[in-house]
């Protein structure tokens, strides 16, 4: 029973981390930017779901495609207007810029929505599914299904579509992609938009399972970074695996060491991986090359 709970929670949280980390890794892979504001995109996604559910009374899971589209547009614009200016500068400039963007978004959230914690509670929030003596909260099951669907769609998009393959090609060999006729500046903006859309969906899913506020993104940026490093920075599929590894390590760590360790575990893993295997544990060959 307990181990079953462990697996369901691990898969659910792992899927969310995977989605968060994949977006973070994509941006790093394509434009060499470690987006410190990634967590704030998650926060915006959470509020978008919250307000759509609250104001329109729709099911939270129905809001996900809409917030993906909204966050895509937002990410695309942010890349075109702000991020594109520092792509040829040193990586520290990208840190400073995205850190500033993060501050801005968090404070805008505080001003707009206040600092209090909120939760998205659909009408079936307390329903459980009883299956052969096992009880699963209905909401968690739907989150799990949503997570699997998002990851499957993402993998399909990246491996089968013209745009997805072009994003990978741009990450692998930017100049060769240009020579194949790819407008790489457009790809940069689309990748950033895609990353923000994934963050937005993750935010919507998190809003259903956990209470959240304007600061919710701060630890998540750290986790996105950990997940991406685990997978080999720049490797999207590596980050997908990394998400599940981190989630199971966290949940296992909480059971073994206690709840106060929850957020620390990610950083212990980050440190250990960076010291012992900076190229990542699960990086896909050729994608996780460290660019200077």
């Amino acid at each position: 029973m307990e181990s079953f709970q462990f697996v369901v929670n691990g898969l659910m949280l792992g899927g969310i981390y995977a989605i968060v980390g994949a977006g973070f890794a994509l941006v790093y892979g394509v434009m060499n930017v470690l987006n410190v504001a990634h967590g704030s995109f998650i926060m915006i996604g959470a509020y978008l779901t919250y307000w759509t559910v609250t104001l329109l009374g729709v099911d939270p899971f129905v809001t996900l495609p809409a917030s993906a589209v909204a966050l895509f547009a937002f990410g695309y614009l942010v890349q075109r207007t702000v991020i594109s200016r520092v792509l040829h500068a040193s990586i520290f400039m990208t840190f400073i810029l995205t850190f500033g963007l993060d501050m801005f978004l968090i404070n805008a959230g505080l001003v707009a929505w206040g600092g209090s914690y909120r939760a998205v509670r659909p009408s079936y929030a307390d329903d459980v599914l009883i299956m052969g003596g096992l009880t699963i909260p209905y909401v968690r099951l739907v989150v799990l299904v949503a997570v699997v669907a998002v990851i499957a769609l993402l993998l399909l998009f990246m491996s089968k579509t013209r745009l997805g393959i072009a994003i990978k090609a741009t990450a692998l060999e930017r100049e060769a992609a240009q020579l194949a006729g790819v407008d790489v500046k457009q790809i940069d903006a689309i990748t950033f938009g895609l990353s923000a859309a994934l963050a937005g969906v993750a935010g919507g899913l998190l809003a259903v399972v956990l209470p959240f506020g304007p600061f919710m993104g701060v630890p998540l940026t750290g986790k996105a970074f950990t997940v991406a490093v685990l997978g080999g920075l720049g490797s999207m599929t590596g980050a997908l695996y990394g998400g599940f590894v981190l989630a199971f390590a966290e949940i296992g760590g909480v059971i073994a060491l206690g709840g106060e360790w929850a957020d620390g575990i990610a950083f212990i893993i980050l440190l250990v991986v960076l010291v012992l295997r900076p190229r990542g544990l699960l990086g896909k060959e050729f994608f996780a090359e460290v660019k200077v």
């Binding site: 013209r162 393959i165 090609a169 006729g181």
Partner: protein
């Protein structure tokens, strides 16, 4: 005959020192032209400037009657100007098939992609068996075939090739060089290629330029150069 590609008084470089200065070259339809010169003479820079990977400081690049000097790289590719970069620069993490598909990025219509891929496999039959392999896992020669194939997938109207033989064993180069000839004959497109190896260039080219410190030192038939001492000096840097 009007030139397919015309570079006029081109000056450019990476820092503030020009690497090529007042350089003029041309490529006529159906012509195979070699760009020769010592290491560091600016051959690669010329090709990069023609493609727009390096912006021109002065001068013009005219392709098929249209001025493309200020256009983005992908717009030049769309116009039919396609380059095989030095060192192949394949998408190592993608399969051979996806690398070739990327060459056809601007059309990306499944029937056209299939047709063009069949042409590439006809030119390099060994690639047919490697379709699903990652490009990064191939031998240097196979990678160069993919690089040529990727360029052909774009249906170029003029092809620029940077150092086909770079880092490849002589046997492999022997196998690849005739492909350039075949490409010209099959597709009827002009080719401008950069080459270190003068003797190989002689076999292949209708015409050649010798580049010395960013300027055209000589122009003519490569056979002329092969016996010319000035060329040996310019080329070998003695």
């Amino acid at each position: 005959m009007a030139a397919m590609l015309e570079v006029r008084d081109l000056t450019t470089g990476y820092t503030d020192v020009p690497l090529i200065a007042d350089l003029s070259i041309s490529l006529a339809p159906g012509e195979v032209v070699a760009l020769l010169g010592a290491n560091g003479s600016g051959k690669t820079t010329v090709l990069r400037a023609i493609m727009g990977l390096l912006p021109a400081w002065q001068g013009r690049v005219v392709f098929d009657g249209q001025e493309v000097t200020r256009r983005a790289v992908h717009e030049r590719v769309k116009a039919g100007l396609v380059m095989v970069p030095a060192g192949r620069r394949l998408f190592f993490g993608l399969s051979v098939e996806d690398n070739l598909k990327m060459g056809g990025y601007l059309t990306w219509e499944s029937r056209l992609l299939r047709e063009r891929m069949a042409e590439v496999f006809a030119l390099f039959p060994e690639l047919g068996k490697l379709r699903t392999h990652l490009a990064g896992k191939l031998s240097g020669g196979e990678q160069q075939m993919v690089a040529l194939g990727r360029a052909l997938m774009a249906r170029p109207r003029a092809l620029l090739i940077d150092e086909l033989s770079l880092g490849l064993a002589p046997v492999v180069v022997e196998r690849l060089m005739p492909a350039v000839e075949k490409i010209r004959n099959l597709f009827g497109i002009p080719v401008l290629f950069v080459e270190q190896d003068v003797l190989r260039a002689v076999e292949l080219a209708d015409r050649a330029y010798v580049l010395d410190q960013g300027r055209i030192a000589m122009e003519g038939h490569p056979k002329q150069f092969a016996q010319d001492r000035r060329l040996i000096r310019a080329y070998m840097g003695v």
